[in-house]
Point group: C2
Chain length 180, copies 2
């Protein structure tokens, strides 16, 4: 994943091959191709991990937790893993995205997938459909804004990503509640 | 646009060429290529129209309308145009989408664009950022659900699309308000 993002930002998504990613990652080409037949799959694998972590955090939240508290637990779970990634990846990924319409489309699809995963995990907890959908979207907005603000902050420590996401979630909750 | 959706659903997005779309639409190839250099542009043009209609409806809502009322005005504006499209397009587009990952990604990016357009139009009306963002997302959810339910309904009249969207928006508002 790190190797892929490095190459995408250095030479663009279109010009990067799976063979180059495998070489940079120090893997044999045949091993790498078994897992990632296509360079888009490299990014899809990251998305599946994020969706799974969000859903696990929501599923394992306290039984009496409301939908927003459950989503907060999902965001804490995912930020614990994302916060340990190299601080250099975020700006590189951003640069690679800015240069590739295909990566932007993939990111948009990824976003839809994350909101869907959160909504499904909430429905599995017994939350009614329209509430689950709204809270899933608020969770996605908090995820994206928290990550963007964390990665742009001058001084950031890995354990602070959760704080950014939960602060954003609380602000979005207040905004939603003001519509009543 | 109708010709493009027909061809995408008949033979798939990947196998369809801009030349085929031009021929089906009864346009000369050179005229068509001037407007749509790439088959993805055919769909992008539809997206820009939707974003513009939503933004216009929001901008022209009554001065004292709240953010949800302004988004409702945007949805009414866009459904007035979408509701006149052939009733056969919706299921065909759905079938074409189900068969093409590329179309799904484009649709996801389109969705992000529509929410962004609504949020920007609300900010231009003086709505605070977090509220504008939440209401823009609620507007997108209402747009998608209203359209899906309208296109699946057995008996639908063109002028009923707005009713589906506004009903969905009201349900989402109530769900958001319940989070307070």
């Amino acid at each position: 994943m790190v190797a892929a993002v490095e190459l995408f930002s250095e030479q663009g998504f279109d010009a990067t091959t799976v063979a180059q990613i495998a070489e940079r990652a120090g893997a044999t080409k045949s091993t790498f191709f078994r897992y990632f037949p296509d360079k888009r799959e490299v990014l899809a694998a990251g998305q599946e991990t994020l969706s799974r972590l969000l859903a696990e955090g929501i599923a394992e939240a306290a039984e009496d937790a409301g939908p927003l508290e459950a989503v907060a637990a999902g965001l804490e779970r995912v930020s614990g893993v994302m916060g340990t990634m190299s601080r250099e990846i975020a700006p590189r990924l951003k640069a690679a995205m800015a240069a590739s319409a295909e990566l932007q489309e993939r990111d948009a699809l990824k976003s839809v997938g994350l909101a869907t995963a959160m909504t499904a995990a909430l429905v599995a907890r017994g939350v009614a459909q329209p509430v689950a959908q709204v809270v899933g979207e608020l969770g996605l907005l908090a995820f994206k804004r928290g990550f963007a603000e964390w990665s742009e902050a001058d001084e950031r420590a890995p354990d602070e990503l959760a704080v950014y996401m939960l602060t954003a979630l609380e602000e979005l909750r207040a905004a939603a509640a003001s519509l009543g």
